[in-house]
Structures are given as C-alpha cells and as structure tokens.
C-alpha cells in the first residue's frame, strides 16, 4: 500500500478556491463515505482548515489514487478539474509522510509554530477513525505525526515567542510585572487590535480592568464586555496613577499624554513601573515618555519589530525541526517496510526456532544423560509441534490478498515481532 497526499493550501490556492473546496459541516461525512466506499482508496483522512484542504490516503497504486482523489475533489465540489489542477499538489510515499509530519508540526503553516494545527490534525484523524476510514497504516502514521509534533515542540523553540501584536504585548507585560493578576489595566479608546490585546491580558490573569473613551457610553459598553469599570475621559490623568498597564488606541490627532503628565503621575505612584502600549496611528502618546525611569512605552512599530525578530528566530528553529522530521520519516519507513509478508514469515520462524532451541536445551539438561535415539526423538517432537503451530499463519501470510497490512500488523503484534516501538 502506498501513502498519498493530495491537497491544496494557502501557498498554492487563493482564498476563493480554498473556500470552495472546504469540507465544512455535514459535507465531511459524505466525503468520508465516498472515500470509504471507493475501490481505489483503502484508508483515508480529510483535513479541512481555513488554510488547507488535504486528503491523506493509503492506496493500492499511487497514480490511480492521485487521479481518483483529484477527480473526487472536482466532482464533490463541482469545480472544473483545470481550475483545481493548478492548485493541487500530490505527494507519494516518503514525501507524503514528510508532508504529514511537517503539517502536524506546523512547519508548513503560514506562521511557523502556530499551535492550532496539531489539534486540527488530531480532530480530522479521530473523525476518520470513527467513520472507519482508516486502517493500520494511517492509524500508525497519525499517532506518529502527533508524537513528532510534540517532540519538535519540546526539542526546538519554534513555538516559543509571540508572533502577534496582542501576544507580544502580553509577553512583555509578563516580563515587566511577573504576576499579572495583581495588576491594574486601562484601555484608552477602542479598536479591534486593542480589544484583542485586552482579551489576552484578561486571559492571562489581569483582573482590575478599566475603560475610557471620549464617548462615555462607548466606555460603558466596552467596560461591560470586559467586566471592567468605565472611566470618564476627563479623569484620565487622575486615574492613571493607579494603572500599571495601559493600551491606547484612539483616533486623536495629537498626544493625549505628554512627558510632563507622566512625570507627575510617576511621582504620585512612587515610581512603580508602568507599561504603556500605544497602537494608535498617529501616535497618541509622546514617544519621549520612554526615556522616563520605570516607564516602558511600546508603539505599534516597536511591537511589530519584536514580532519580526521572533518570526526570524522561529524560522531558524524550523531548520532543526526539519532534521527531526527527516529522521522520523526514515523510522516510519522502516516500520512500513516490515509490513510485508516475507520478512514477517522469516521473523516468525526465527522466533519460533529460538524458543524451541532454548526450551529443548533446558529440558535436556534436566533429563540428564540420554541415548542418541532418545535425543533425536525429543528434537523431532519439538520441531513437529512448532511447525504445526507456525504453519497456518505462514499460509495466511503467503496467500491472503485483501487487508494484508492489517493481517501482517496483527501477526506481528500477536507474536511480539515488532522490534521497533513508538
């Protein structure tokens, strides 16, 4: 059986196509049924996320399989083949295994090291498993894929540092304050990015939240949303002396906080550190504020710079991850090669013979001196028993045609022939 990947992702297909080939909602069950009932595909998994749609399959013949799955994409979604063929990629054998490992470890993701993909791969697998679309080979492959992803996560640092503005803000806040649960936070203004960062701060322990806005009703609305306290914009300077973390995102054309303001505030709060994030464009907070002691001011470009460096660091780590993938692909191929009949028969016979010899020696030692004829008889007896026991599995391995992988895997398991684990 050959392992095959057919699919498209954010690099090969624009969003318009990805939307059309996505297997969302109920569609995936129909799709899995079609693959299950096909003669060409023996095992299958469908992975459908917003960045990629892929079918992982075990097929009798690679070329037929690829052709079938491409046709399946086209028929199922009613998209002309010519349109799909430009976007679809096909990987066979070792390359397919490598691709699956890279996807699970998020090496193939838009942002290397992003944490969601492994969960999505696992969900896709468990859905296929439940629908009985998978068998020995894909089951083993997907287990291996998650363990490779975990190994890469612990042995490299591809997932370590923040790569989005809001996460970078949280990471910095933690490096300034340590424990965020005793810190107070204020959101000045509104905006998608600012609200997302607020959400992340709250998820990371911040409890004391206040919101201010030029329109007080808007402040009230947002305060309700975050379980915080609305503050009148005119009281801003007064309130800030109690605030440790500030996110500012307003449409003001000028600085709403000057160096003198903050100097006074810092004196009032006895120089307790303040972390101020100004994501407004144009900037709303005087950049000179960063020169003050114990004040840390980051604007949108500063955060962007932090992320840029983190992404570079992740890409460097990805090199190491690729080496791990290469090693794991080889180990999987070794396991798969063991899934053919001849080496299994040999292994089974060797094992039986080893057991027979060992037991025979023990018995002869216990029996003491025996005549040559007697030894011959005992030897013959053990050989006969072993041969009779090994004969039926050998015959099955030689002649069974359907589900041979399954059979081989079962026999290897029953007789403890798997030299390689994990």
């Amino acid at each position: 059986m050959e392992i095959l990947v057919v699919g498209l992702n954010h690099k090969t297909a624009p969003i318009e196509i990805r939307e059309r080939v996505a297997f969302d909602g109920q569609k995936i069950f129909d799709a899995l049924r079609i693959l299950r009932e096909s003669e060409v595909v023996r095992e299958s998994i469908i992975l459908s996320t917003c960045n990629r749609v892929e079918v992982y399959a075990g097929v009798k013949d690679g070329e037929d399989g690829a052709e079938f799955i491409k046709g399946f994409f086209s028929d199922f979604h009613n998209i002309p083949r010519e349109l799909l063929d430009k976007s679809l990629y096909v990987y066979h054998g070792a390359e397919a295994i490598r691709h699956i490992f890279r996807v699970s470890s998020s090496l193939d993701s838009m942002i290397v090291g992003e944490p969601q993909i492994l969960g999505q791969v696992k969900d896709a697998f468990s859905l296929s498993l439940k629908s009985k679309n998978t068998g020995v080979v894909l089951n083993r492959l997907m287990e291996k894929a998650s363990s490779v992803a975990k190994r890469i996560r612990t042995e490299t640092r591809i997932a370590e540092s923040a790569v989005s503005i809001s996460f970078a803000a949280v990471e910095l806040a933690k490096k300034i304050f340590g424990d965020l649960s005793v810190k107070s936070f204020m959101l000045i203004g509104a905006g998608e990015m600012a609200e997302l960062a607020t959400r992340h701060l709250i998820n990371n322990g911040v409890k004391d939240v206040s919101v201010t806005n030029r329109t007080y009703e808007r402040a009230e609305e947002l305060a309700r949303e975050f379980g915080g306290r609305p503050v009148r914009f005119d009281n801003l300077l007064d309130e800030l002396k109690h605030i440790d973390i500030v996110i500012c995102s307003t449409g003001a054309p000028n600085y709403i906080l000057t160096k003198q303001d903050l100097q006074r505030i810092m004196k009032q709060r006895k120089q307790k550190p303040m972390f101020i994030i100004d994501i407004s464009v144009p900037r709303n907070i005087d950049p000179k504020i960063n020169d003050l002691d114990n004040v840390y001011l980051y604007d949108i470009d500063d955060l962007q710079g932090v992320i840029e460096l983190n992404i570079q660091a992740r890409n460097r780590e990805a090199q190491k991850a690729e080496e791990i993938v290469t090693a794991e692909v080889e180990s999987f191929l070794r396991w798969k090669a063991s899934l053919s009949a001849v080496p299994t028969i040999v292994a089974l016979r060797d094992k039986a013979e080893m057991i027979r010899k060992g037991e025979l020696e023990k018995a002869l030692r216990k029996l003491g001196p025996l005549g040559e004829e007697q030894i011959k008889t005992i030897d013959y007896l053990t050989k006969a028993i072993v041969n009779k026991l090994v004969h039926p599995p050998t015959v099955a391995l030689k002649f069974e045609q359907e589900d041979k992988d399954e059979l081989i895997a079962t026999i290897r398991k029953l007789y403890g022939l798997n030299s390689e684990k994990g």
């Binding site: 910095l172 006895k270 550190p273 002691d293």
Partner: protein
C-alpha cells in the same frame, strides 16, 4: 596534600565548572545546562562544607581567622542564600550571575596562605562568633542583591531598548527581580547593623572602648550608610528598579573593598591573622 586543602581545591573546581555552565547557559538555546549549573554548585558546596568542618575540628574554632578562611566562608554564605532563592523563586539564570561572584571570591581565597592559625586570646569571646556570623550573612545578602541587580539591569536594558533577545526570554521579570533585590537589602541591612553593634559591644569587653575609628570600622560605617541611603531613597522617593540595582551593585563594591582592600592595604586590628 592535607585533607582540608584537597576539599578546598575540589570545591573550587566544581564552582569553576558551575560558573562555566552558567555562562554557557546565557548564550545557549536549550534549558539543559540550567540543572548542570545547580548540581555542580551543590557538589562544590558539599566539599566546601566538609572543608569548613575539617578546619573547625583541626583549629577548634570557627574558621574565619585568616583572609583565606574569611573569603571562603563568605562564599559559603552566599551559596547558602543562592540555594534558598533558587529553590524558593525558581529564578531563571540566577546561577549564571551568582556563581561568578562565588568563584571569584573562592579564587581570591585560594591565593592567600592556608595554614590554620591559633585563636588569639582577644578573639576568644562569645561576641566574636555572633559578630562575624552576622557580618558574613549580611554581606552575603548584599552579594546576592548585587547579582540580582545586574540581572535587573540586563533585563531592563532589553525591555527599554525594545530589542528582545533570547536572554530576555530566559531572565525573570523586572518586578520579581526588584522585589527580591529589596527583600535582600532588608535582610542584609539589619544584619549589618547588628554586626556593627555586637562588634562594638565585643570591642568594649576586649579593649574597653566601643569604637576606635579603625579603617575597617570606618569603611563598614560607610557601607552601612550607603545601604541606609538606598533604603531611604527607595521608601521615600521611589528609587526602585534601575536606581536601586545600581546602588546595590555599588554598595557591594564597597563591601568588597572593606573586605579585601582594608585588610590588605590599611593597618588595623581587624586585620586577619
């Protein structure tokens, strides 16, 4: 080689190894060496403790008579505090900043003569043990505060300059470092105060006068004033963070001078031996 010398050399060697892994840790990506730094320090500490016990038994008194002994006992006290903080707060990279201080003190100790001296009669006092123990533990707290202060300055530099390197990821948060720095100063300061007071009481029983303006006394007083100032500025004017760190590094330099400089350069009855 005498057993106590052998133990000392072993301790010194393990502290060197621990310092090396500590420095490597600053530049490496992996976490593996962090344990190495700690365990090498622990092994060194065991040899070091044995060395102190052996010298105690051989000399019949707490071994802080010579500058060799004093310097070695000083590093021993720092390590005690280091292990406590490492265990309590699990601060990343603490060893990388403390072990070099420990190693340098031990190295200085190793260049001085190592024979065990008999206790001079004037030192055979109940107050003597209390005085020196308080002084050493206090100074060790200040040494730790200096190491933590350096960590703070490094981390602060990253956050302020917005260039977040790998080291930034591994170092503890600014507030954690500042809080520990403060608590070390509040530990060291009363100990130093008590050391000066017990020293004065002892001087009075030994020489009939509380204070003799001997260089060590003067420099200890200066050190005491620096830390008093540090605490005052912090509590009244909010001199925390960077300023507090710089002051605690400066204060420790004064301690080192009081410790080595005064003993070697100036004459006085605090001189060892």
């Amino acid at each position: 080689m005498e057993i106590n010398v052998l133990l000392f050399e072993l301790a010194l060697t393990f502290y060197l190894l621990s310092t090396i892994t500590g420095v490597i840790e600053l530049f490496r990506r992996r976490k593996a060496t962090s344990n190495a730094t700690r365990y090498l320090a622990i092994i060194g500490f065991l040899f070091h403790s044995a060395n102190i016990v052996v010298r105690y038994i051989q000399g019949g008194h707490i071994p802080i008579m010579t500058i060799h002994e004093a310097s070695s006992f000083f590093s021993w006290c720092i390590l005690l505090l280091f292990f406590f903080h490492e265990y309590r707060y699990r601060l990343g990279l603490l060893g990388s900043f403390i072990m070099p201080i420990v190693f340098i003190l031990m190295l200085s100790s190793s260049i001085f003569p190592r024979e065990i001296k008999a206790l001079s009669p004037v030192l055979k006092s109940y107050w003597f043990g209390i005085h020196v123990t308080l002084a050493f533990v206090g100074d060790a707290a200040f040494a730790m505060a200096c190491g933590i202060g350096i960590m703070y300055l490094v981390q602060e530099r990253y956050v302020k300059s917005k260039h977040l390197s790998r080291l930034f990821q591994k170092l503890p948060s600014l507030e954690t470092l500042d809080a520990i720095n403060y608590h070390l100063i509040t530990l060291g300061f009363p100990l130093l105060t008590l050391a000066i007071i017990t020293g004065a009481i002892w001087a009075n029983t030994a020489w009939g006068t509380f204070w003799r303006w001997d260089p060590k006394e003067v420099w200890s007083l200066i050190t005491w004033l620096i830390y008093a100032l540090l605490l005052h500025l912090r509590l009244s004017y909010g001199w925390r963070g960077r300023k507090a760190s710089i002051l605690s590094i400066g204060g420790f330099l004064f301690i080192l001078f009081t410790f080595f400089g005064v003993s070697l350069v100036m004459k006085g009855f605090h001189v060892f031996g």
